[in-house]
């Protein structure tokens, strides 16, 4: 299976993500430069964490307007898998691949800690190896992790069953305790926690690894 990891200016988790899919999970991985439009025939595009364009103006705003995002849009339209982690999730919202927006944490501070999450859905392409209701711990590290959507939007997210991950102990004010959502079609997933930082035993936690393995399993079939 071939992963494409986008490098926006200011991304800083691309190497971590590359390390997990390539060195730990032994998959093919390539970097995709933000100004290119060729997705190099990858099976899954990952928008990594970081501070694209410094998160100046709004988190993810400037990266969402990068040339490569047009190719990613076409790829997603064709049903291609797109995973946005942290800043990647913010970019997916800014680019309107996913509804809502991520705003400043309620306490106005950067929050770096492990959080407990509950899996709301395991019938998605990204979470099939977990169990419904399973609780996992993953690190978060962000300033704008507070998910916001208006009432109508929230109702529709719920109706369409788009909420995949929730915080059990909301750290940042996210509406509906939302930590990760999927698009209606089910091929674009964004989450604030960092599964790539929790994919190796030596780091004290590998509960995030099943996200990548779910994707890989899918492609094997």
């Amino acid at each position: 299976m071939k992963f494409g990891i986008i490098q926006f200016l200011g991304s800083n988790c691309e190497a971590d993500t590359f390390h997990v899919v390539h060195n730990v999970l032994k998959q093919e991985a390539v970097y995709l430069w933000h100004e290119e439009t060729d997705l190099k025939k990858v099976d899954c595009v990952i928008l990594p964490g970081g501070f694209s364009h410094g998160d100046y103006l709004r988190a993810g705003a400037m990266a969402a307007r990068s040339p490569i995002m047009q190719s990613v849009a076409a790829f997603a339209d064709r049903g291609g898998l797109v995973l946005g982690i942290c800043n990647g999730f913010q970019i997916l919202c800014e680019a309107k691949f996913l509804p809502g927006v991520l705003v400043r944490n309620k306490n106005l501070q950067f929050i770096s800690e492990d959080v407990e999450l509950v899996l709301e859905r395991t019938d998605t392409l990204f979470t099939s190896l977990y169990n419904v209701g399973q609780k996992i711990r993953l690190p978060i590290a962000n300033m704008e992790g507070h998910y916001y959507i208006d009432d109508a939007g929230l109702t529709s997210l719920k109706k369409n069953n788009q909420i995949v991950l929730r915080y059990t102990n909301n750290p940042n004010g996210s509406i509906g305790d939302i930590a990760g959502i999927i698009n209606e079609k089910g091929n674009v997933f964004g989450l604030m926690p960092h599964p790539e930082r929790a994919s190796e035993k030596i780091l004290g936690n590998n509960e995030g690894r099943l996200i990548f393995e779910s994707i890989i399993k899918l492609c094997r079939r």
């Binding site: 400037m62 307007r65 809502g100 705003v103 400043r104 106005l108 507070h146 916001y148 208006d150 004010g173």
Partner: protein
């Protein structure tokens, strides 16, 4: 030419920064403050030809990048220099 752009959160959108500022202002003894909303103020220098053309341009910049219209509204003025 100069554009002065004001970006504010839409009504109803929660503004944690504004709330924190309100809290601190009260704490500092400014009792009369009732509500605070924190937005952005952006100044652009442009070498536009006409005011109208510049207006169209600036609107397009706001729509495409400067504001996230899911939660923000914007307004602007163009000043000839």
């Amino acid at each position: 030419m100069k554009a002065k752009i004001y970006i504010t959160l839409k009504n109803g959108v929660h503004d944690p920064q504004g709330e924190a500022v309100l809290g601190t202002l009260k704490h500092l003894g400014f009792e009369g403050v009732q509500g605070v909303r924190v937005g952005k103020y952006i100044e652009l220098n442009l070498n536009g030809v006409s005011k109208e053309q510049t207006q169209t341009q600036v609107r397009s910049m706001c729509e495409k990048l400067l504001a996230n219209t899911v939660i923000e509204s914007y307004s602007f003025e163009i000043v000839e220099q």
